[in-house]
């Protein structure tokens, strides 16, 4: 890109900055007067909008990063190579939401380092935390070459080439040790991945350095996405059977893969409109051909697990049923019809709107699982406080601003 100036004068930009300012101010209030001052969270409903939207949705929307990386580097679909950087950027963006959301939501965020020292392997939250930590590291490594390229850091690039695979292998082996506590499990992991690396290095064409890193990213992502579903396995009596199933982690993983694809299309379309940089049409159309099948797969697995848990006897409150059908219709039925039968092969507009609906559907799903689906007797039903909403908007705006700046400053789209 030639024009690398960031324009802060547009109306959209002013709105973004205002929302960030307002959110920031409320975060200050939250840290001075406690969580109760800006939220409607209660002892009955300890989790709300920040977990439902900022954290759960942020991670789900980040799934494009590993899905596309898997397609290109593991399945060898080189056609989609140009999608990798935007997809990884999306993942980084998602994890910015998550990091900010967690900082706001945690009662004592400054103790977050405790997860490294105090281990509780029986806790799903412990797995989630380690996934965030390790996958963020991998994402940073995956995105690093963009910096090297922009700032011509050849020495760093060589170091990256040399160490990235080994770092990947060590991170995954370490994760296995942390989660199992059994050294020889970690040893097996190390041996298998190291064997992969020798195989790649000696038998594949040059440039396979990245595959190990991508594999680590996929492994952490798969664990992270599914573990966010596992979190809710411990509340069989609180979460409505519309969403509760022993296969919640599977549902979370599949829907994340689907929304990952949708999010890449969605973002690329927006960024080509806003910054004039985006993906080539045939790449978007290729993704759009896969998307309806991913949507269908998500729906089939969801239906099967719902049937297994309830036999389709849907026992829930009216509000929950309404939100359930909203999720299914907006996130599954309509986009599937649009993508399959409404000329998505030609119309970029249809593809865009269908992708947007898939994204919204998954947002509703995560809100349903973490908020709408949970009912606690005796406590007033949780409705987000205006403070929670404004802080969430501030966080999303921060993510968008970061995306904008990175897209302008770094060679994310179509450098090669």
């Amino acid at each position: 890109m030639n024009n690398k100036k960031i324009d802060f004068s547009g109306r959209g930009m002013k709105l973004l900055l205002a929302l960030i300012g307002l959110g920031g101010l409320l975060i200050v209030v939250r840290f001075i007067f406690g969580l109760g001052s800006v939220s409607n969270l209660s002892d009955g409903y300890p989790w709300g909008l920040w977990i439902g939207v900022d954290v759960l949705t942020g991670v789900a929307l980040a799934a494009g990063g590993f899905t596309i990386a898997a397609a290109v580097h593991v399945l060898g679909l080189k056609k989609y190579h140009s999608v990798i950087r935007p997809a990884i950027l999306t993942a980084l963006l998602g994890y910015i939401f998550v990091a900010l959301g967690i900082i706001v939501d945690l009662g004592r965020g400054w103790n977050i380092w405790h997860i490294i020292v105090f281990w509780n392997r029986d806790s799903v939250m412990f797995e989630v935390a380690w996934c965030v930590l390790l996958y963020s590291t991998v994402l940073a490594l995956e995105f690093a070459p963009v910096f090297f390229e922009e700032f011509k850091l050849t020495a760093w690039e060589e170091k990256w080439d040399k160490y990235a695979p080994w770092i990947s292998i060590l991170l995954v082996s370490w994760f296995v040790f942390v989660m199992s506590g059994i050294p020889w499990y970690a040893g097996i992991t190390f041996i298998i991945l190291a064997a992969c690396w020798f195989l790649f290095r000696n038998k594949l064409p040059r440039g396979s350095t990245v595959i190990l890193l991508i594999m680590a990213g996929i492994i952490f992502s798969v664990q992270h996405q599914s573990s966010l579903g596992s979190i809710f396995l411990i509340v069989p009596t609180k979460l409505s059977t519309l969403w509760y199933t022993p296969y919640l982690p599977v549902n979370f993983l599949i829907s994340a893969i689907t929304v990952g694809l949708a999010m890449v299309i969605f973002e690329s379309t927006i960024s080509s409109r806003v910054f004039g940089v985006g993906l080539e049409d045939d790449v978007v159309k290729g993704l759009a051909r896969v998307l309806p099948w991913a949507v269908l797969a998500t729906a089939v697995v969801r239906a099967a697990t719902l049937f297994q848990a309830t036999g389709f006897k849907l026992d829930a409150s009216g509000g929950q049923l309404a939100s359930f059908f909203l999720e299914i219709i907006v996130g599954t039925v309509i986009p599937f019809i649009m993508l399959m039968f409404m000329g998505a092969g030609k119309s970029a507009k249809i593809i865009f709107y269908a992708s947007a609906m898939v994204v919204i559907g998954v947002v509703i799903n995560r809100i349903n699982v973490s908020i709408v689906g949970i009912k606690i007797d005796g406590y007033p039903v949780y409705v987000p406080h205006i403070g929670e909403i404004l802080i969430t908007l501030g966080i999303i705006s921060t993510g968008l601003l970061a995306f904008y700046i990175v897209c302008i400053k770094l060679p994310v789209f179509g450098k090669r």
């Binding site: 004592r108 103790n111 939250m125 411990i234 069989p236 009596t237």
Partner: protein, 272 residues
């Protein structure tokens, strides 16, 4: 940890409770808990405050018993941490700040807590409470007066109870007493010991003239510990990671060898 004979607990017999709330006061005194600003609420319960909180570790709940549209009487029951044999909160705590002690009480080490509140979500009884207006908030709940137990005293609420509605003792012998009462005065009791098997069993055993569920206690609790619902997912991690790693490596190798032969003529490194 299962049903170790030494675990201490309560038998709470609602039919003996007269609703004096001496236990509530004794609890506040022993734990030095401040008073709480409350609002009277009209729904079922009428007790005040309405819920357990970071300032109220135990609470007498009130219920009206209606028969043929007329008020037949009042029943009371003491709400508090049930001190599960295999607590959901202990399994859920990310940093292991919550701990099940060998003698029964579930206690916590507040220095470790990061404030994620997963224990609150995980607890089927909604017991752990949070200090919502604190800058450095703690999780709070009943400790079964583990500090008193260690020193050979009984918990303050049991000590205070004038009608012996709360008896402190070994869990196994409390179960025997409860069974005897249900049997010898079967008309008086709803025939169930709530806590004997709920959520894998709890140190607090509850009997009453009405089902505990009518006091807002959770319905259809599983007989296994809540942690048994998350353990399969957690135990699958090493296998899943190793399997996924091997599968990805194999697929990547085959796919890239085949495609690499034809395509990678650019000679350029392929970094991102």
């Amino acid at each position: 940890m299962k049903t170790s004979i030494n675990q201490k607990g309560f038998l709470i017999d609602g039919t003996k409770c007269i609703g004096c709330r001496g236990c509530q006061v004794a609890c506040k005194q022993w734990n030095e808990l401040p008073a709480e600003k409350t609002e009277f609420f009209g729904g079922p319960g009428y007790q005040n405050p309405a819920h357990l909180s970071s300032k109220t570790y135990t609470l007498i709940k009130y219920r009206e018993v209606m028969k043929d549209g007329k008020l037949k009487g009042w029943v009371f029951h003491k709400d508090q941490c049930q001190h599960c044999l295999e607590p959901a909160c202990v399994s859920a705590c990310i940093v292991g700040a919550l701990e099940k002690t060998a003698s029964g009480p579930v206690v916590w080490e507040d220095k470790k807590c990061i404030g994620c509140r997963y224990c609150m979500l995980a607890c089927p009884f909604n017991v752990p409470a949070f200090e919502w207006s604190s800058i450095n908030p703690d999780i709070r709940k009943c400790t079964l007066c583990s500090d008193r137990i260690e020193n050979g005293l009984e918990p303050s609420c049991a000590k205070a109870c004038p009608t012996k509605a709360i008896i402190f003792g070994d869990r196994n012998s409390l179960i025997k007493i409860a069974r005897n009462r249900l049997k010898s005065e079967s008309a008086k009791y709803h025939q169930h010991i709530y806590g004997e098997e709920e959520a894998g069993g709890t140190c607090i055993l509850n009997i009453s003239s009405i089902p505990l569920e009518d006091f807002g206690y959770p319905k259809n609790l599983p007989k296994t510990a809540m942690a048994s619902f998350t353990q399969p997912a957690l135990r699958s991690i090493p296998g899943a990671v190793i399997g996924l790693g091997a599968a990805l490596g194999l697929i990547a190798f085959i796919a890239n060898m085949v495609k690499g032969d034809e395509k990678d003529s650019s000679g350029q490194g392929d970094r991102s």
